[in-house]
Symmetry: C2
Subunit: 199 residues, 2 copies
């Protein structure tokens, strides 16, 4: 029968996991919660994934690889560092706008959980820092950016600011309801490139 994709159960489980992880956090989530949310039997989760960890890993890698590509692409445009950094921040903010639950999970459970999952994915995460550092480094060579700041240092500061803002929205420290993400992106780039003091 044209019974096309038979409701891809694997995808179903992944999407359900995002929702449950976002709601309860990874540690507080039982595998049965994921199965229930997906409407499948407990054991099926283990048919598609070899452990609960692997579900989270899969979610992270799926999304993080897109970020790495986005950084790569931003870098390839011949634009100035200001535009490149704007593109990177824009991609991350857009990811949150598009799927807040997924970004919450990735940030809270992986990126900022350097002791547990962050450890596993340190290499991937570092790759993003390095991509940003390269943008800074190129900008310094072209003279568009000051040369007295270590690129990796600037990269960490930039990424840290991005992630902290995201966390603020996620946990309501900063009201996200009225947030215009595009404006936030521009403001952040301005802050980092121009500084807080008047020009």
């Amino acid at each position: 029968m044209a019974q096309a994709p038979p409701a891809d159960k694997r995808r179903l489980i992944l999407d359900a996991a995002v929702r449950v992880f976002a709601r309860q956090g990874f540690h507080a989530t039982r595998v049965s919660d994921i199965a229930d949310e997906a409407g499948v039997a407990y054991g099926l989760v283990y048919h598609y994934f070899k452990s609960k960890d692997e579900v989270l890993n899969e979610l992270f890698l799926e999304r993080w690889s897109l970020l790495l590509v986005a950084i790569e692409e931003a870098d390839r445009t011949g634009a100035g560092p200001r535009e490149k950094l704007g593109a990177v921040a824009g991609f991350i903010f857009d990811s949150y706008r598009h799927d807040p639950d997924l970004m919450k999970v990735i940030i809270v459970e992986v990126t900022r959980a350097a002791n547990s999952f962050g450890q596993t994915h340190l290499e991937q995460i570092r790759r993003a820092y390095e991509g940003i550092a390269k943008i800074v480094s190129d900008g310094q060579e072209s003279g568009a950016l000051r040369g007295d700041v270590e690129p990796m240092f600037a990269s960490m500061a930039f990424y840290g600011a991005v992630e902290q803002l995201l966390s603020g929205w996620i946990f309501g420290t900063i009201p996200a309801s009225e947030t215009d993400f595009d404006a936030a992106r521009d403001l952040l780039v301005t802050t980092i490139c121009d500084g807080l003091e008047p020009r």
Copy 2:
């Protein structure tokens, strides 16, 4: 006999907990690990603390209250925002220099664990953000800082950068061995206040 302080067991347990939490992470730490590290019996931990959580809470509050005081004090000096922000970043970096394990635990297990313990202490954490935001806000009124950046926005960006750098040192993403923390503090303040582009 002049057997002065009877080896305060409570303190002994707290200090041991810092070491074990830093080494294994809070979740992976069993209460017996803490007791073993402290060289006391399992049950004694429960004599002084009503749960494993309370041990971490105590560690966090002890240190965080000092940070809040430091921010408060930095603000009271009549100096410019640049100096005030430098004092705040300096205090945090010094805390790390003085007791890396404790800072690692606080950041990894509380501050960046907004799902678990961060939730409990959100109010305390927010208080720090607000203290920094006040510094920015005052700076804007005096004309030392640009007025087109929401103070809370700037505060989050600043604190995010600080914490990300710390994380970088903690997890070896950035080599901490050769790091001169005072130079890092100055560089960060310069980056945030002057911006990455040449003046």
